[in-house]
């Protein structure tokens, strides 16, 4: 079973890897955007970790909602509202339950993906974070349904996100700033898909490193 601690360590894992990859994300965004994705995500998840550290005893769903609110109120840019609402809708799935299992984790991520697509109106292939998030969620759902061990399902989901991230390279962007470049967006990896892959890998680490 997973609980509030799982969410907290997921957020800490994200903060660590986003900070480590900050400059890389900035470079990717400089190539086809405006060069701030690394600083945006870094600022946001630093704030999230602080907010959760200050929290005492909220259930996991609440923690996700707090994390989402924090992203919305600190990131700005496109990624702030998108990941912010994603985590908020994910959190609402759990209500006040203190623990959650694999199928519920699938529901959380399904709700998160839905709100990203709803708010951003991006579809698979538009060269956005959706290209990493959607395959990850689909993979997790399928493997959990097959009854695969969660650790393995999450590993495959993260791998699917990473594959989706790489698959954005040849695409021409249809959403976000990169779309302004038209053909010139081809040949570059989407920064948001890249940070999304980090977020899914962080989830796998958070869950498997659990006692």
């Amino acid at each position: 079973m997973m609980d509030a601690a799982t969410i907290s360590s997921w957020m800490r894992e994200i903060e660590t890897s986003v900070r480590a990859e900050r400059d890389h994300l900035v470079q990717l965004d400089a190539a086809i955007g405006d060069g701030d994705h690394g600083t945006n995500m870094n600022r946001g998840f630093e704030a999230v970790v602080q907010a959760l550290a200050a929290d005492n005893g909220s259930p996991p769903g609440r923690l996700l909602i707090i994390a989402g609110r924090t992203l919305v109120s600190t990131v700005g840019g496109a990624s702030g509202p998108l990941w912010g609402s994603a985590l908020r809708s994910g959190g609402r799935v759990l209500g006040d339950e203190t623990t959650f299992d694999a199928p519920q984790l699938v529901e959380i991520l399904t709700a998160a993906l839905a709100s990203v697509k709803d708010l951003g109106t991006a579809a698979l292939g538009d060269k956005t974070m959706v290209d990493a998030l959607e395959p990850a969620v689909d993979t997790l759902r399928a493997r959990v349904a097959d009854g695969a061990p969660l650790a393995q399902a999450l590993d495959e989901a993260a791998a699917a996100a990473e594959a989706g991230m790489r698959a954005t390279i040849p695409l021409q962007a249809r959403k976000g700033r990169a779309s302004y470049l038209g053909e010139r967006s081809v040949g570059h990896q989407d920064p948001g898909a890249t940070s999304t892959a980090l977020i899914m890998r962080a989830l796998q680490r958070a869950v498997t490193s659990q006692p």
């Binding site: 405006d34 919305v72 702030g80 976000g176 779309s179």
Partner: protein
């Protein structure tokens, strides 16, 4: 002078605080017109809220100064919500600004069409509605360099934003209601087109690195205002040749009636001096007349910038009597002032 140096050609203290430091200075210089709410990082017109007046707010990433904070004042904006450099502000800023200026007649959100701006303003408008404030939103998307389509993010909002803020601000100052002010902004956006070119990149303070490398003798055609490269790169020709490209792009898309009166806005992107902007204006004026349009108003200067980027943008607005009247109406802000 300290040995510790900052590796940019910029006057900065803490690069992370550049926006706050600059807003502090703006308020110190123009305390007669506006105040800086540091807690919410917003610039608010000194006498806001004005009971019964429709309020206008805008916002977006910083690095485009004087946009938007420099346009807060009589006859223009009631508040501005500046984000970090090139990063959309967060909904809390727009919500605070909306509350600070609402005079009961409603608040218009003027939003440049960037995914980040649109989404953050959307969340703010929802929150404001929850608090019972009438909010309308107009998205500006005048940049013809970007191909528009249902399936893309659509055109960027650039130069028309300045014109819309001035013109709608005059309408609101004159007592127009929420529907009319909102409609006026939509008309400006519908009748204006822009195209920008760059001769250099710019250096965001946070990264301290140029966003792209542009060799001397090359030009980026169709750039926006966030240091992003343009649609294509070409050899830099004469000013006349560059202006041919800008005018053709704008005029062919605007499709104004032959003989229309137009407002011509030649805007510097931050690093191009007035000597060149006026040279460009001379070329634009001549070519527009050849194209059968009549420039009757103009604005030449650096009003919607991309940090210190060398470059310029052209915005052409097709005018009618009401728009001319509103453009000529009194305005008193740090960056635009006349008839007061």
């Amino acid at each position: 002078m300290a040995v510790e140096t900052n590796q940019m050609r910029k006057f900065l203290n803490d690069p992370a605080a550049v926006v706050k430091d600059s807003l502090k200075g703006l308020a110190a210089a123009h305390g007669d017109l506006l105040r800086y709410d540091a807690a919410n990082q917003i610039i608010v017109r000194k006498d806001a809220p004005k009971k019964g007046k429709v309020a206008l707010i805008s916002g977006g990433g910083s690095g485009h100064e004087p946009l938007h904070g420099g346009f807060v004042g009589l006859g223009m904006l009631d508040a501005a919500a500046p984000g970090e450099v090139f990063t959309s502000p967060v909904p809390g800023q727009m919500l605070a600004a909306t509350k600070a200026v609402d005079g009961g007649a409603g608040v218009v959100h003027i939003v440049k069409n960037y995914t980040g701006d649109v989404l953050n303003f959307k969340l703010a408008a929802e929150d404001a509605a929850d608090e019972g404030i009438k909010v309308t939103t107009v998205v500006i998307d005048d940049d013809v360099a970007v191909q528009d389509s249902l399936y893309t993010a659509g055109r960027r909002g650039v130069g028309a934003t300045v014109l819309a803020e001035k013109i709608a601000g005059a309408a609101a100052e004159g007592g127009a209601d929420l529907a009319h002010v909102t409609d006026t902004i939509k008309r400006v956006n519908a009748r204006a087109r822009s195209f920008g070119v760059a001769l250099s990149s710019c250096v965001p303070p946070a990264s301290g690195k140029a966003i792209f490398e542009l060799p001397e003798g090359q030009i980026e055609l169709g750039v926006g205002i966030h240091g992003e490269p343009g649609r294509r790169r070409a050899a830099l020709g004469t000013a006349s040749e560059v202006v041919d490209v800008m005018v053709e792009a704008v005029v062919s898309d605007l499709k104004a009636k032959h003989g229309s009166k137009v407002l011509v806005f030649v805007n510097g992107l931050g690093g191009t001096p007035l000597l060149e902007l006026y040279l460009i204006y001379g070329e634009v004026d001549e070519k527009l007349r050849k194209a059968g349009l009549e420039p009757v108003r103009n604005l030449v200067g650096s009003y919607i910038t991309s940090l210190e980027m060398a470059g310029a943008s052209l915005t052409v607005l097709e005018l009618d009597e009401e728009l001319i009247k509103l453009w000529d109406a009194p305005v008193h802000t740090p960056a635009l002032r006349w008839r007061v």
